[in-house]
């Protein structure tokens, strides 16, 4: 009966296990500093993955997020460096741009009945190409505001630092939870992922919801791009290549069903943290090649998909049973 939370529990348990294992093995691993860094190092990925969570819950996919991060970075760099705009003027522009880009893909998907995979794949190439056209070189961002952002933060005991990126991430997380569980749009997103046809018959505004879902993902990847530029102080057209796949992996490890209809935003955050903790573990070890991160994540993904099949297998069976029934 409680299988709704099973994958979430497993994910959280796994994170604690990994963190504990690292703490026992290495000095200084089990500290608030390492824990806080998990958030700040992966904030851009987590923000993007939260947007991806909504897309996947609705039964779709968004492959364009990595490219949107890069495009956002390049646009920020050019607008701030070449056109002399203040970052606070630039951010609304790129955020709205990201949202519109996503909304456009959502509209294509809905009105032309196209596969999200293909539409967002096109969006991925388009955004990456656009970023490269704007500047092939990395565009440095040198602005007092960026320095101020880098210095902003809260000092926690144990030499832990909660910076602007982490704070933005936490704000996004809260907003996403409210959206998912305390707004009508959230209900519509889960409904679409459950069964689009039924949702439509129940009066869910499918067009509006689909467009909103991809707009949210576009908006959050643009926000992810801004946060990414906080680390790099630059915008580069080849940045964040493959981030869309990391985001999808985090969503799945976080317990969201790839088939849609079920999943939690918090799970995605934990998914990102798990990927981060593996990376940290490998860097603490020092002897392992960093590609081991990918290998472990690959194995984890397999394990989680198997777990999901196991958990939903029973449900699928009963769904099939009723289908046979209603054909009578």
């Amino acid at each position: 009966m409680q299988s709704r939370y099973t994958t979430l529990t497993v994910t959280a348990g796994l994170f604690m296990l990994l963190f504990l294992a690292g703490s026992l093995q290495f000095d200084g691993f089990g500290s608030t500093r390492v824990f806080a860094n998990l958030f700040s190092d992966n904030a851009f990925l987590a923000i993007t993955a939260i947007g991806m969570t909504f897309v996947i819950i609705s039964g779709g996919i968004d492959l364009s997020v990595g490219s949107v991060i890069a495009l956002t970075g390049v646009a920020c760099g050019l607008l701030i460096g070449q056109y002399g705009l203040h970052p606070l003027q630039v951010f609304p522009i790129v955020l709205i741009g990201g949202a519109l880009f996503g909304a456009g893909m959502g509209a294509l998907i809905h009105y032309y009945k196209l596969q999200p995979f293909i539409v967002t794949l096109a969006g991925m190439f388009l955004a990456r190409g656009l970023a490269t056209t704007l500047s092939e070189e990395s565009v440095p961002i040198d602005h007092p505001f960026y320095d101020a952002v880098a210095d902003f933060g809260i000092q926690l005991p144990g030499n832990a630092w909660v910076g602007a990126s982490t704070l933005i991430l936490l704000a996004v997380l809260v907003a996403a939870i409210v959206l998912a569980h305390f707004s009508r749009l959230g209900g519509y997103i889960y409904a679409l992922g459950g069964n689009a046809q039924s949702a439509q018959l129940m009066g869910v505004p499918v067009a509006r919801t689909t467009i909103a879902i991809y707009a949210i993902s576009g908006f959050l990847s643009a926000l992810g791009g801004i946060v990414y530029s906080f680390y790099t102080f630059s915008g580069y057209s080849l940045a964040a290549v493959g981030t869309e796949l990391d985001a999808i992996a985090a969503v799945v490890i976080g317990g969201t069903l790839l088939t849609g209809g079920s999943g939690y935003v918090v799970g995605t955050l934990i998914g990102v943290l798990i990927m981060g903790v593996i990376q940290t573990y490998i860097s603490f070890d020092g002897t392992l090649n960093s590609w081991w991160t990918k290998i472990v994540i690959g194995l984890l993904l397999f394990a989680f998909i198997a777990l999901q099949k196991l958990l939903t297998g029973k449900r699928l069976l009963s769904a099939n049973g009723t289908r046979e029934f209603s054909h009578a």
């Binding site: 009966m1 409904a191 992922g193």
Partner: protein
């Protein structure tokens, strides 16, 4: 008082007139059964009534005012709710979410879950449902889901409730529970449109009946004044002969040994225990209304549906086909009812479509040469007179009748001992129709056994050596060669 009335509704699809000037009137506080066989236009009419489809012509009056529906959401907002056969709720969401999706009460701009759960429990109490509303809907049975769907419709202040085959997957107790709810809703003045294939249910719950046939209105009747046989006659488009039934003229042919014997075979949820024998060289007709269990018999015999009890004997030994491939290997073949979705492979050529089953039977390690396929295709094109310039034309470009012949050819190529044909003449033009009937007779005379379902009585009379009559998912009668006539079959279908 009339709640909802539709008049002169027309709907045309390419090549078909689905509705041709149909009238429908629903009164306050009545259960109005909407009946008709396949292609009668029931579902089209319901779609027009509930805003899912735009009629091409005709008017709709609701509560005394003209109404033009823009969408199902619009229909719901004015009080016309629909519950479909396939429960169209969202099984991944909780019961409460399903009840309140899109109209959640809010507090400080956020969804007020406490209130939703409290109200959901109150709503379901009226339906005598005591379940945990926070659990996903998928945790509950189809019957409960069906009631939740109705509860949602009624709670959205429905004045008109359209139930499209709500009982198709319910057992007897659950049907009674549902009918109890319907009677209560009726007493509150709600008008209920009830679509079903079960005549018993029509008589036990409905006040009036509207019968459609081939997109036209046959009539509107008071249930109490319409004898069951007259109703069946209206649905099938045959007037019952007043005189005692004519007996058939056919001579009973000497029956061969039994080829297929089904003893009390049942399929959970779709077929009651049914016994049936098909002898060698015999064509057995399966008669019955839509939803009576005809197709289910074919599926059970062919291993499409899992047989849950009973014994199936083929060629003298007990068999249990786990999948169609087993049945094919044993010497059976099935032409399914729905040609488009489970018969033809549209883009493939006639040659490839014909070779498919034989190839599958041989296994993929023994490929057929192209020349062999070509010979096979040409033989059948000639034998069955398939109208095509050559064997390489994609099957989707053929007419319905010719597609059906190709599928027949596919199965004949495997030289089955028992050929099961589910509605072989559906959607086939008159000429091809006659040829398919002729072919059935020819196959029988060659010693093949056939099990054929049909909703057309004259067809059953024309080819059957014996007719098994299905009703409410069980066999209710078997008519021997000498007694087969349209009249006897119809009586058997209607008999209470």
């Amino acid at each position: 008082m009339t709640l909802l009335s539709l008049s002169k509704v027309e709907k045309r699809y390419p090549g078909v007139k689905a509705l041709d000037g149909v009238d429908f009137h629903l009164r306050e506080g009545e259960v109005h059964a909407l009946l008709g066989e396949n292609g009668a236009g029931k579902s089209t009419l319901v779609k027009v009534m509930t805003g899912a489809l735009d009629g091409d012509a005709g008017t709709m009056t609701y509560l005394g005012k003209p109404l033009k529906l823009k969408s199902t959401a619009h229909a719901q907002s004015v009080g016309i709710s629909t519950v479909y056969q396939e429960v169209n709720l969202l099984s991944n969401l909780s019961v409460a979410q399903n009840l309140y999706l899109g109209r959640e009460p809010k507090k400080f701009g956020l969804i007020d879950w406490k209130r939703i759960h409290r109200q959901s429990r109150a709503v379901l109490e009226r339906f005598a449902l005591d379940i945990d509303v926070t659990q996903p809907l998928s945790n509950y049975s189809v019957a409960v889901q069906q009631l939740v769907a109705i509860a949602r419709g009624v709670d959205m202040s429905a004045k008109v409730l359209v139930l499209d085959e709500p009982t198709a997957s319910l057992d007897a107790g659950e049907v009674e529970q549902l009918f109890g709810v319907l009677r209560e809703l009726k007493s509150k003045g709600i008008g209920i449109v009830f679509i079903t294939h079960f005549l018993d249910q029509v008589y036990s719950v409905s006040d009036r009946i509207t019968v459609l046939r081939n997109g036209t209105l046959v009539g509107e009747f008071e249930t109490a004044q319409l004898p069951r046989k007259a109703l069946v006659g209206h649905m099938l488009g045959k007037e019952l002969q007043e005189a005692a039934h004519r007996s058939g003229t056919r001579e009973a042919r000497a029956a061969g040994e039994a080829l297929l014997e089904a003893a009390d075979v049942s399929v959970q949820g779709s077929l009651q225990p049914t016994s049936l024998t098909v002898n060698r060289g015999e064509a057995v007709g399966l008669a019955g209304l839509l939803g009576s269990g005809r197709t289910e018999v074919c599926k059970a015999v062919f291993g499409v549906d899992k047989v849950s009890s009973g014994k199936l004997t083929f060629k003298g030994s007990e068999r249990r086909f786990r999948q169609p491939a087993d049945a094919i290997a044993a010497g059976l073949a099935l032409c399914p009812e729905d040609r488009k979705t489970s018969g033809i492979v549209g883009p493939l050529s006639i040659r490839e479509n014909i070779a498919l089953a034989l190839q599958a039977r041989r296994g993929w390690w023994h490929p057929m040469s192209r020349a062999e396929q070509q010979r096979l295709a040409e033989r059948f094109i000639e034998e069955l007179q398939i109208a095509t310039p050559d064997a390489d034309k994609p099957i989707e470009q053929l007419s319905g009748g010719n597609q059906q012949k190709v599928i027949l050819a596919r199965w004949l190529a495997t030289e089955p001992e028992l050929l099961v044909l589910d509605e072989p003449t559906r959607g086939v033009d008159i000429g091809a129709h006659a040829e398919i009937l002729k072919l059935i007779k020819k196959l029988c005379s060659q010693g093949m056994s056939l099990l054929v379902t049909s909703s057309e009585l004259e067809e059953l009379v024309a080819f059957s050596d014996r007719v098994a009559v299905m009703r409410d998912r069980r066999k209710v009668a078997e008519i021997e060669a000498g007694d087969i006539s349209e009249d006897t079959i119809m009586r058997a279908i209607a008999e209470a």
